[in-house]
């Protein structure tokens, strides 16, 4: 770890003003940032501690729910409003990390957590995400945990969040404040594909602060489910995960949301899979069509070819559960 200065702030404005300095980062739960600082992967010169900001509420907002950026993962997961109206989000949060980590980790921080790519986390390796232009050893290396969707020849690192995958299925909107004012950003637009600039992971501008995530009311959110497949029963990142939500009318799908985790370079919305279900009854054929569409364009690597089949099966199982077939 390299030396840094540390400031606690109590107001969002002060936070934003403080963070405009170069090499400054916001410190929320710290479960990812402090870890990466110890590894010298992130070396901010200043930490602006935003834990005292009054942004930890989970509350009704219009017909939807607003979740403060500093709400802890545990508090969101166990919120009655979330469990009843957006079960996929509660399930996704509880499938991640461990109770200790969930008690610290925040909603804003979770959206910004960094990849678990081995090569990103070890400064002895080159990494385009960490040192732009230095190369990607994962593509030729051990890439069992890497992405099959959304990769580029510069980066195939997965986004590790479970929470963000559920939010993709819920059409969440990220609310921010920054030096240029406030913005509302659709979750689908929030994370960026790696392309030629894997170091740019989100659309956030320097100093811009996430203040809340809004979950709109929807006809499908209450019938939703998060299914995570992993190498051990708890405390493991997804090999593949699916957030699924359905609006059914007389057994016919009226609207559908399918988002994937553990397989994409960002929280992955499977639009084609959703389309395959619209106005269709749920049966083996339509589930298979959706599963096939979900992995359309997948580019498996040497060690992660299994993720294509695993993703398809996970999509089918998640849909079957949501659709009451399982």
């Amino acid at each position: 770890m390299q030396p840094f200065s540390y400031h606690q702030v109590e107001q969002a404005d002060t936070a934003i003003a403080s963070a405009r300095l170069d090499q400054s980062m916001y410190l929320a739960g710290g479960t990812s940032l402090i870890d990466l600082m110890k590894l010298n992967v992130q070396t901010p010169q200043q930490l602006v501690d935003i834990n005292a900001l009054p942004l930890a509420q989970v509350e009704q907002q219009g017909n939807g729910v607003r979740i403060g950026a500093m709400a802890r993962n545990s508090d969101v997961a166990y919120s009655a409003m979330i469990r009843e109206r957006y079960p996929v989000l509660s399930e996704a949060l509880l499938s991640g990390a461990s109770p200790q980590l969930r008690n610290m980790a925040t909603v804003g921080g979770n959206l910004l957590q960094r990849t678990r790519c081995y090569y990103f986390r070890d400064t002895a390796f080159p990494c385009n995400k960490r040192v732009p232009g230095s190369g990607c050893p994962a593509i030729e290396g051990y890439n069992r945990i890497h992405a099959i969707l959304g990769g580029s020849d510069r980066c195939i690192a997965t986004h590790p969040s479970d929470m963000a995958v559920a939010m993709m299925a819920l059409d969440a909107v990220v609310q921010t404040r920054g030096p240029q004012g406030t913005r509302s950003i659709s979750i689908a637009d929030f994370h960026l594909l790696p392309g030629n600039t894997p170091e740019q992971e989100t659309v956030l501008e320097p100093g811009e602060l996430i203040v809340a995530v809004d979950l709109p009311a929807s006809p499908f959110a209450a019938r939703s489910h998060y299914l995570k497949v992993r190498d051990r029963a708890s405390y493991a990142f997804a090999m593949a995960s699916v957030a699924a939500a359905l609006e059914l009318q007389n057994g016919v799908v009226r609207s559908a949301r399918i988002a994937l985790g553990g397989v994409g370079t960002k929280p992955w919305r499977a639009y084609d899979a959703e389309k395959a279900l619209i106005n269709q009854p749920l049966n083996q054929n339509t589930l298979q069509a959706a599963a096939k569409a979900a992995v359309q364009g997948a580019k498996p690597q040497k060690y992660n070819g299994f993720k294509v089949e695993l993703t398809k099966r996970t999509v089918m199982r998640a849909l079957a559960t949501v659709g009451g077939m399982a």
Binding site: V229, R232, F306, L310, T314, R317
Partner: protein, 737 residues
């Protein structure tokens, strides 16, 4: 007079005597000793797997405030890392890089933070060479080890001719099984605090063997051994990686001498993957031949494992095959392939754990090929004596283990057809395997001292690596001395105490326990003699056989009123203490008997057919391990071994980058060991077994047998559940899709 005359403390489920100290934080581990003027060391590690350090620029590191020393091969004192046996240690004596993660420098600073900051600022330029990284690519370079496998056995063995045995076989199984690199990951990382007092060196070290550390450190530094003292009161798990003295221990001592201050050096979790050993990758060929009736006609187990380019460690995978089943033709062999990796080392049941995966999987394959129940197949080949040594067993309860384990598990309800058992969509599989581990014992000494206040102190070098040594030795001493456990203070973990062996090979209970038993018995005997010859004693004139020792008193068997306390005898003789020392060692029993623990593992797995996820849902293990010293710690030891086996079977896998040879999953988030949710309730049965031959206290050692057979039992259950035979560990979901 004998211990059966009194109520025995041995065997009782006594709570750990050090439990309170541990849960309150009072127990001091090696990085926790407050030493005046202590400074902090951090090692710098190589980032390439093979080559030379062309340039090492320490200027930026030296400018960090508080930095006292940046020690590299350019300024390190000259020492010999090969002196003193044990592992060969790279100790900054040259610019050669032998594996990625080799210690190539030490930074010492006033604070840990300054040392870490500086270590990251050392700039190194390498001349890289092409590393050898893959076992399969270098099989043509496999060689016959120069060394022996444990118990001084040659790497190869042959009884009869396997080719001949296979030629007459009605059914054959010939398969290759592979196991990956695994790392020990005790909760407490390696830690050393080095304090120089003139030309004497005191090391607080997280070690499984204080005396081994003393000898190695003295030899490497060219010091008389009596000038080195090692203390290790509490060790937070070892599993083998703390059995040898590794480079960082000596480097800490070297750095402390350079800066003339005590230095503490704790390895980070990432640094636990490489420089302190690991279970090596293996490739094992097993050939079995059998008659239609299931009698083995041939058994060959040929193992190849990896070692480093500069040292040799043999994973003795085929050792068990020499003795576990009756068969006229048995051949075993061990080969090594040198790669640019750190030197492997002992890891919980080295050889037995990895070897039993191959052999016990092959036995299951043979059972299916013959359509014979896997227990029945094993019974038909039950070894009534050791087929390698041609010696009788000192005791063997394997038949009872199969019977009692199977009964508790409900094995007879098993439908052997793969995929025949389901719970809804979930596939259920039942598998079993044989477990075995040798009974080891080494010379060990102890001193027992009875005090006038009626308490006793018993001392023996040794170590408690979390296994319960403090507790079980207290129990043995209690029985030997005729005192309640709470009146006994047992001291260990210091080379100033009587010499003992490494806590490895499941031998501490047998070795140290025998010494403690003999020292305690002798001290009590000496005290009794004082009384018997003393006219003032109510015991005067009686013989030792007439006397019972109980709660710190001697009393006549048939006249309990004639009694006196230990304190009274000592006081009357003007003695503050009476003590005895025992130097115990194995005797001719090892030439007359083959000594092993045996067991049977039964497991139920549940497999999700869509995801390939395997979860263990039920476990019964039955073991014959001689006398139990403590029912509670013994149960915990077996459970711990089985949990280690669940990890080995389903998740443990140290992954090296295929091009650069760096471990890529060197942390506890990515290197998976079982979490609570992965572990079902584990039912351990101890089969009643009395072994009068093994050692004076009749124990066989229980630290390692729990893992043996575990991985095979799971793989066999997975086959039963899915019809898929996985011969490559770990058994991750991608292998079942």
């Amino acid at each position: 007079m004998n211990s059966s005359d009194m109520k025995s403390v041995v065997g009782k489920p006594l709570n750990r005597v050090d439990g309170h100290a541990k849960v309150t934080g009072a127990a001091r581990y090696s990085a926790e000793f407050p030493v005046a003027k202590l400074v902090h060391g951090v090692t710098i590690q190589s980032t390439i797997a093979s080559g030379k350090i062309a340039q090492i620029d320490t200027r930026a590191a030296e400018r960090v405030p508080g930095v006292l020393l940046v020690m590299t091969h350019l300024n390190a004192p000259k020492v010999s890392g090969e002196a003193g046996g044990d592992r060969k240690l790279p100790l900054l004596q040259d610019n050669q890089v032998r594996y990625s993660g080799q210690h190539i420098g030490v930074v010492v600073a006033d604070t840990f933070e300054h040392a870490m900051q500086a270590a990251a600022l050392v700039n190194i330029r390498y001349d890289e060479e092409q590393p050898a990284l893959h076992l399969k690519e270098h099989l043509d370079q496999a060689y016959v080890p120069q060394g022996k496998i444990p118990r001084d056995q040659p790497p190869d063995s042959a009884h009869g001719s396997v080719e001949q045995g296979l030629a007459t076989a009605a059914v054959k199984v010939e398969q290759t099984y592979t196991t990956p690199i695994e790392n020990h990951n005790p909760m407490e990382p390696h830690a050393t605090t080095a304090v120089w007092q003139g030309d004497r060196l005191l090391l607080y070290d997280a070690t499984q063997g204080v005396f081994g550390a003393k000898k190695k450190v003295a030899a490497v530094l060219g010091m008389p051994p009596e000038n080195v003292r090692i203390m290790s009161y509490f060790v937070g798990g070892g599993f083998g990686c703390k059995g040898s003295t590794w480079a960082h221990v000596v480097l800490t001592a070297m750095a402390a001498r350079q800066v003339n201050r005590p230095v503490k050096l704790v390895l980070g979790r990432m640094q636990m993957f490489g420089p302190v050993g690991f279970r090596p990758e293996t490739m094992q060929q097993v050939s079995l031949g059998a008659t239609r009736e299931g009698n083995l006609t041939a058994l060959r187990h040929a193992g190849t494992s990896i070692t480093s380019t500069f040292d040799e460690f043999i994973e003795p995978v085929a050792k068990t095959a020499r003795m576990i089943y009756a068969c006229p033709h048995i051949e075993t062999s061990h080969r090594l392939v040198r790669l640019n990796v750190g030197t492997p080392t002992y890891m919980r049941a080295p050889g037995e754990a990895s070897g039993s995966f191959a052999l016990e999987s092959a036995m299951d394959e043979l059972a299916y090929a013959l359509k014979i129940d896997p227990i029945e197949l094993r019974l038909r080949n039950y070894a009534e004596f050791d087929p390698d040594k041609k010696l009788p067993w000192s005791s063997k309860s394997l038949r009872e283990c199969y019977q009692q384990g199977a009964a508790r598990f409900g094995w007879q309800k098993r439908n052997p057809t793969p995929r025949s058992m389901r719970d809804g969509n979930t596939l259920i599989g039942w598998g079993m395997a044989t477990a075995t581990y040798p009974t080891n014992r080494s010379p060990a000494s102890a001193i027992a001292q009875i005090k006038a206040d009626g308490t006793a102190v018993v001392r023996s070098g040794s170590q408690d690596i979390g296994t319960g040594t403090y507790t079980v030795m207290t129990q043995i001493a209690a029985d030997a001395l005729g005192l309640p456990a709470e009146q006994i203070q047992f001291e260990l973990g210091d080379t100033n105490l009587p010499e003992t062996p490494v806590s490895g090979g499941s031998q501490t209970a047998a070795s140290v326990g025998s010494a403690v038993h003999l020292a305690g018995t002798e001290a009590r005997s000496k005290l009794l003699q004082l009384a018997l010859m003393d006219q003032a004693s109510p015991l005067y004139g009686a013989t030792a056989e007439d006397v019972i020792a109980q709660n710190g008193r001697f009393l006549l068997k048939n006249k309990a009123a004639n009694a006196e306390t230990y304190g009274a005898i000592l006081s009357r003789h003007g003695l503050k203490t009476i003590e005895a020392r025992a130097d115990a060692k194995p005797g001719e029993e090892k030439d007359k008997y083959s000594m092993h623990s045996f067991g049977a593992q039964f497991v139920e797995v549940r497999v999700n057919p869509d995801s390939g996820e395997v979860r263990v849902s039920r476990w019964v293990g039955a073991f014959g391990v001689g006398r139990l010293l403590n029912a509670k710690t013994a149960n915990s030891q077996l459970i711990g071994g089985i949990v280690y086996g669940i990890g080995m079977a389903l998740m443990e896998h140290t992954v090296m980058d295929p091009n650069r040879g760096r471990v890529v999953n060197a942390d506890l988030a990515e290197y998976h060991v079982p979490v609570n949710a992965d572990v079902p309730s584990i039912d351990v049965i101890f089969v009643d077994e009395q072994d009068p031959h093994v050692n004076p206290i009749g124990v066989k050692g229980i630290g390692e047998i729990g893992i043996t057979g575990s991985a095979a039992a799971i793989a066999n259950a997975v086959y039963h559940a899915t019809g898929q035979r996985v011969r490559d560990l770990p058994l991750t979901l991608d292998k079942l899709l």
